[in-house]
Subunit: 207 residues, 2 copies
């Protein structure tokens, strides 16, 4: 049976690799990656397992595809014009990266949540975790430039402060409800202001 036939016979929408990944990550986020089977993903899409294997080699390939998308979106931020060295003061570049990181976290909520919950149980998961940590270190590097430029207290531990701020962002994935009372824009604005105010406030450092 061809996929198109199957789709028609089940009355389902399209199920290309992108929609398989989308549905799979909704399940991974709700039930956990380990606890979700390709069977359940197929049932949720209303297709056979074979139809899924037509696009993706298996559950780990689905995980890789979705996580790659999330990490590429995150690391892509560092290449955006306002984030580049020389685009502005380092502290402004940091604020830009922070806002965009929050936006991507809320846009790709399922993928980023699953990424953040990876435990490093497989070679693939460890590689993904390494790439996420590399992103944090690159962001910390921009904060370090702001310290060197004298725009943040000299005793600022850039990696620690970046981890604290990213931790606040990361935890959003655990409680933020899209479509709830709080708009994504309001949350992003509140977090960014709080982080920037805290970073630059005189009471924060020993200086």
């Amino acid at each position: 049976m061809r996929i198109d036939d199957q789709r028609t016979s089940r009355g389902q929408g399209s199920h290309d690799a992108g929609s398989v990944t989308g549905v799979a990550f909704r399940l991974f986020r709700a039930r956990g990656y380990e606890a979700t089977s390709v069977d359940q993903i197929a049932r949720e899409l209303g297709v056979t397992k074979a139809a899924i294997y037509h696009h993706l080699a298996g559950k780990e390939a689905i995980l890789a595809a979705g996580i790659n998308r999330a990490i590429q979106a995150l690391t892509g931020v560092l290449q955006e014009a306002p984030a580049l060295p020389g685009a502005g003061a380092p502290l402004e570049r940091f604020e830009y990266i922070l806002r965009r990181t929050l936006e991507i976290g809320l846009e790709h909520l399922d993928e980023v949540t699953v990424l953040l919950r990876l435990r490093g149980n497989t070679e693939l998961e460890r590689e993904m975790l390494d790439r996420r940590r590399a992103f944090d270190r690159a962001v910390a590097e921009v904060m370090r430039e702001a310290v060197d430029a004298g725009d943040l207290p000299a005793d600022t531990d850039a990696l620690l402060m970046t981890r604290l701020i990213m931790g606040m962002n990361n935890w959003l994935t655990e409680w933020y409800q899209p479509g709830g009372a709080l708009s994504a824009a309001a949350v992003i604005d509140t977090v960014t202001r709080f982080a920037m105010a805290g970073l630059t406030a005189p009471g924060r450092s020993d200086r």
Copy 2:
């Protein structure tokens, strides 16, 4: 075979309910609760499964015991003298609660980490998550008093700001390494100063 015999024959230390829970939570944290069996806990302790069942009815009872300990430690903070209504300005009480919450998170790192990773897959897990959320709401209430007292901007969303700050704390469990270069005291101090500076900084609110 009596537990004492077994202990002697294996040359292991004591294994009362407390040490079972301690070892179990080290495994739950490292490998995940679902992925850890009572067999593995028994092997790690060097005792039989029967010796474990002598103290605790099973894996869920172990989970309940450890998580209860963590939640009781957290909620106990709200009953400590400096946290009580009238003990000081609400903002000082909030700062005290924040510091103590951080201390407890790092003291009970395994239990708190496992608590924070619960997905609500069972009735017990949902009850634990409800108690954790009730703690956040109680802390937000103290922040709300600080807003009412005029010590924080009137447009402060106390529940959102509490969740952001607790999220920063919660994320510590994912990367903090006890015994590493950063002492617990230094991390607690940095987080508290950052949070308090951010909360009270003029740039944070619309006011």
